[in-house]
């Protein structure tokens, strides 16, 4: 511990702490703008500058560490003036469209301007109107609003390691651009939306599809149904100032019904379906490899739920195409089932059914527009709204979300298990798959406390586990004594790590779960801002709590699925499944510029 004084208060602080963190502990707020804990600490926006006795210039508190005897002033005239000037400068290069901006009342710049009492901007507006980039299905870029904090660049280059966004040109002409291209569609972008999730202003947002959904609901000829991804229930509350990690499944269901959807369903239903299909696929591959000694079987198998990961794989590692599970993502499985099986059940034409997805994800907007996602005969999923969009949608309808009662989702596509809930978390798909696969092979429940596979839970970037299979059922005897090695990576940078290790023969796995976003879907690019590690943990805990409170916790126990297979699909990997629930991937390496 070292002693410092801050604004004449004596405080003790741990060595190695930044002034910013020390101030936070001392209940002193220092404004930040480019800073994002654990993501980037570049010290470049200069909002967080403080005065340190004996130092000529003001120092950025986010990167300056405290030292013994340091005297810090966070609120002197110099500091206040500097911050005001920085804000005035930023505002002079910002379009004053706050009222019509997507980030109105949710904008860090707007908030700071209010907090620092900016009553006028003495500098004349030098903001140049730059063209809006709406070239991709998921992401909209408005470079005129960009304040060049570079959070997006850091997540794109260092966390996701996709490297689409980077600063271009220099001086006042600097812009954040997709490499040398002008439009995102001309560059390789996996649409993960992590850039949109960290943008402090309205410069990068998801494409707003709320009006299209209103239109569908308003159309009396359409039967509009909605599915909600597992991660929404643990995050939507944050749009209404509820504590991170508040479970709002019941209120969400009520709100969706109040919005006018004709059926309120759950992507979880399709997540359970995915486990049956994918689990069977894995076991089939293992059998071919071990019993038939078929060298053409691609192992390890990778999961395929995360559309950003699929985009990444197609562009950067197309050689892995045979290794990736052919299963569609739960969202697309839901769409295909809804427009065939469900349409039949309710006696509607598939053309008249509109499937709306609520997703924590911007890449899902891209995925539902992929040409091959039309196996029902029409577009399987029509519109995707992010969690943030749903929050706005509910506000537009004047629903008092916090105080409405809980309701249950509709049958049959709203019935699901706890195994589907945990799809939201990194490690969750793997855990759900193991719960089912282990039981298929041994006839016994996964032998872990509360069915949790602890080594693959949590926020470590790459996690692994080994499971020795003993006491197999007769038909799975070939797996007797086999140790199944699995791995989990979240964030594409970590995915890259794992792939490179496999490529160089350093690691050998049977099954690998990849989720595009840090923390998994609970940290998706469409989730309420700002997703920090603390918030990730809160959402993850909430999801596990949801899972543990369920009547059914293993996908194969889902009663609605049993009916689906009996009445419609036949068996996992059967002909109908193959047609509706599985897909193929494309080598897009040539499109890389």
């Amino acid at each position: 511990m070292i002693n410092i004084t801050m604004n004449n208060m004596k405080i003790e602080s741990e060595e190695g702490t930044t002034i910013l963190d020390a101030a936070k502990k001392a209940r002193i707020k220092i404004p930040t703008l480019c800073y994002l804990k654990n993501v980037q600490e570049p010290g470049s926006c200069r909002m967080c500058v403080v005065e340190i006795e004996g130092v000529r210039t003001l120092q950025p508190s986010c990167i300056t560490h405290v030292s013994e005897g340091m005297k810090i002033y966070t609120n002197t005239k110099e500091v206040r003036d500097a911050r005001k000037i920085i804000l005035e400068l930023l505002l002079s290069d910002h379009p004053w469209e706050c009222n019509t901006c997507d980030r109105n009342q949710d904008c860090e710049l707007q908030k700071l301007a209010e907090e620092y009492g900016i009553k006028e901007v003495r500098f004349k507006s030098i903001n140049e109107e730059l063209p809006l980039d709406e070239s991709t299905p998921g992401i909209v870029r408005d470079p005129s609003k960009c304040i060049l904090c570079r959070r997006c660049v850091t997540v794109c280059q260092e966390i996701q390691e996709v490297g689409t966004l980077s600063p271009r040109a220099r001086g006042f002409d600097t812009i954040i651009a997709p490499g040398q291209a002008d439009l995102l569609s001309e560059a390789v972008c996996v649409q993960c939306g992590q850039c949109a999730a960290v943008c402090p202003v309205g410069a990068i947002i998801e494409k707003d599809d709320i009006d299209k959904v209103w239109e569908a609901i308003d159309n009396p000829d359409k039967f509009v149904i909605v599915q909600t991804a597992p991660a929404i229930r643990a995050a939507l509350g944050e749009c209404f100032d509820l504590e991170p990690g508040t479970l709002v499944k019941g209120r969400m269901t009520t709100a969706l019904r109040m919005l006018g959807f004709d059926g309120v369903f759950d992507t979880n239903f399709a997540a359970d379906l995915t486990i049956l299909e994918e689990g069977t696929e894995l076991l089939t591959r293992l059998k071919k490899a071990i019993v038939d000694e078929d060298k053409s079987v691609a192992l390890p198998m990778f999961t395929s739920c995360s559309p950003g990961w699929i985009n990444y794989m197609e562009h950067f590692y197309p050689e892995l195409i045979p290794n990736v599970s052919t299963c569609k993502s739960p969202q697309q499985m839901f769409g295909a089932v809804a427009k065939t099986y469900f349409a039949e059940k309710v006696g509607k034409k598939k053309e008249d059914i509109v499937v709306v997805s609520i997703m924590p994800c911007t890449a899902k907007k891209f995925e539902c527009n992929r040409e091959e996602m039309t196996d029902s005969g029409v577009k399987d999923v029509d519109y995707v709204l992010t969690t943030r969009e749903l929050g706005k949608f509910i506000k537009q309808a004047g629903i008092d979300f916090v105080n409405i009662p809980d309701e249950e989702m509709d049958a049959p596509l709203g019935i699901s298990t706890g195994a589907a809930d945990i799809f939201a978390n990194t490690g969750g798909v793997m855990e759900a798959a193991l719960r089912t696969a282990y039981e298929i092979v041994t006839g016994r429940e996964l032998p872990f406390d509360k069915l949790h596979v602890v080594p693959i839970q949590g926020l470590d970037g790459v996690k692994e586990a080994s499971l020795k299979i003993e006491g197999t059922k007769e038909e799975w005897e070939f797996l007797e004594g086999v140790t199944v090695n699995v791995a989990v990576a979240h964030g594409l940078g970590n995915a890259k790590k794992i792939i490179e290790e496999i490529k160089f023969g350093k690691k050998h796995y049977h099954f690998i779960e990849i989720m595009t976003c840090p923390g998994g879907c609970i940290g998706g690019g469409g989730q309420p801002r700002m997703t920090t590690d603390e918030i990730r943990k809160a959402r993850i805990q909430a999801i596990y709590k949801e899972d543990e409170g369920r009547e059914y916790r293993k996908s194969h126990d889902n009663p609605a699925l049993k009916v689906l297979y009996e009445e419609f699909l036949g068996k996992p990997l059967g002909e109908r499944s193959h047609h509706l629930l599985h897909t193929k991937y494309f080598n897009k390496k040539d499109e890389n510029v």
Binding site: I86, S166, G171
Partner: protein
């Protein structure tokens, strides 16, 4: 290298032939011919050979005693002795910041990690500065020798010269010099039959001003965007490829061989107590003899203009900008301030890169500042918000003033912005934007205020009124 040639160099004897009697291949830039009747010839340290020897012939450099210092250093001195000599000499970095060179070397020398790097910063980008160019064109081996001595002192075996791409002749001559020195065994393995190895490579910059800042230079060398890095860690601890790195300006390194050869005491005979040695200036503007001069630290601006530069070419002296676009403006009152690090610091200025731009009364301060700011708008790296937008607003303000569109608040606003830049900007570039502005406000406020006063005419008032009418129409 043969025994004979090593001895020859160590004894200061010509290696192959004496200085060429033919017309020497001169650099493209002429040295200012000082008038011996008027000025005292102080002797040169850095530019001693420039124009006297053929820079493309290594023998001629050796003929003047070249590489003798390196030989001496390797044969007779320990690395710590070298650092002590450089420290004792009081040499300060000639790139602009004026940091004590010996001290800088000692930081890199302390580091245990290897490899270490020596980098010669030849990205001379400060407008009006072309001293390093002449040194490189006129005496390239002196830089190589200085780098080798530095490498020996800090424990490095690899050196880079980061040079701006526009300096084609410098690049050619340095490349040739490296080849010739390698051929003679003065670079490469086992130099002077010792176990000291040193190789030098050239990296060519792409023309960004900020890459002259040492950490931006490192980023550029590593293939990243040329933007300053956070300090600490300083390059001495974590520089090129995160290894200990010592960066010096061309002129600084060119001072090294003479210092090692003649000793710290000899060097201290030049210049002032605080700032020993000489300084190479590029002088330009409204003077009769623009060009390069090397003079002792501490001579005055008046001496430079009237003794060396042959006086004003037209009109009366109004102001001089010292140290390139990032430098402060000196008015007539400061003509007699000694030009050295300490004296200028007392006046709130920096010696900077060594450019002296002399202007007569025909140059309006506001036009001049607008011009300076235009440069910074383009050359700010775009990383920190206050520099990126602040330079642009500063430029707009001066344009506004020049067009007589500004109101009374403009100067106050400019001053606040300049103070904030000085206090808050991320790197020396942003901080130095304030230098010309604040010095202009200090010495030429009356003139700048006039740009506003003329606003009070009838036209402006009617224009303002018509604006209001327009707003409501």
């Amino acid at each position: 290298m043969s025994r004979r040639s090593i001895d020859q160099i160590l004894e200061g004897k010509p290696y192959k032939k004496l200085l060429s009697s033919e017309k020497l291949q001169q650099s493209e830039i002429d040295l200012v011919n000082t008038d011996p009747k008027k000025t005292q010839y102080y002797g040169r340290i850095v530019l001693d050979n420039c124009g006297r020897i053929n820079p493309e012939e290594i023998e001629e450099y050796i003929g003047t005693g070249g590489y003798q210092a390196l030989g001496m250093a390797l044969k007779e001195k320990k690395p710590e002795d070298i650092i002590k000599i450089v420290k004792d000499s009081g040499l300060k970095g000639r790139g602009g910041a004026g940091f004590p060179t010996g001290l800088k070397w000692s930081f890199a020398a302390q580091e245990k990690e290897s490899p270490k790097y020596v980098i010669c910063n030849a990205d001379e980008g400060e407008p009006g500065t072309f001293k390093d160019r002449l040194i490189m064109e006129g005496d390239p081996h002196k830089i190589l020798e200085g780098m080798a001595i530095c490498a020996y002192a800090i424990g490095a075996n690899i050196g880079y010269i980061y040079i701006r791409g526009e300096y084609q002749l410098s690049i050619q001559r340095l490349e040739k010099a490296i080849k010739e020195a390698e051929k003679l065994g003065l670079l490469g393995k086992n130099i002077f039959d010792t176990d000291f190895d040193f190789e030098v490579k050239i990296k060519i910059g792409a023309g960004s001003y900020v890459c002259g800042e040492e950490t931006a230079l490192l980023n550029s060398m590593e293939g990243f965007r040329g933007e300053p890095r956070l300090k600490p860690p300083f390059p001495a601890k974590s520089g090129f490829l995160s290894k200990p790195t010592n960066l010096n300006n061309v002129e600084t390194l060119a001072n090294i061989p003479p210092i090692i050869l003649n000793g710290a005491e000899w060097f201290r005979k030049f210049g002032t107590e605080d700032s020993p040695g000489t300084k190479v200036y590029s002088i330009l503007g409204h003077i009769n003899r623009p060009g390069l001069i090397e003079v002792p630290m501490g001579i005055t601006l008046r001496e430079i203009i009237y003794d060396y530069a042959g006086g004003m070419s037209s009109g009366e002296f109004k102001m001089a900008q010292i140290g390139g676009t990032a430098g402060g403006i000196l008015p007539i009152e400061l003509l007699d301030v000694p030009l050295d690090y300490l004296s200028l610091q007392i006046e709130g200025h920096n010696l900077g890169s060594g450019a002296i731009l002399i202007m007569n009364e025909t140059v309006p301060v506001v036009d001049f500042l607008e011009c300076c700011m235009k440069f910074f708008v383009h050359e700010s790296c775009g990383r920190c918000s206050i520099c990126r937008i602040g330079t642009k607003q500063m430029y707009e303000s001066f344009k506004y003033l020049r067009e007589k569109e500004a109101n009374y608040d403009e100067l106050k606003k400019i001053e606040e912005l300049a103070e904030a830049l000085k206090l808050v900007a991320f790197c020396p570039l942003g901080q130095s934007v304030a230098s010309p502005v604040l010095s202009a406000l200090k010495y030429f406020r009356a003139e700048l205020s006039k740009e506003i006063d003329s606003n009070e005419d009838y036209e402006t008032i009617t224009r303002e009124m018509s604006d209001i009418v327009f707003d409501y129409s």
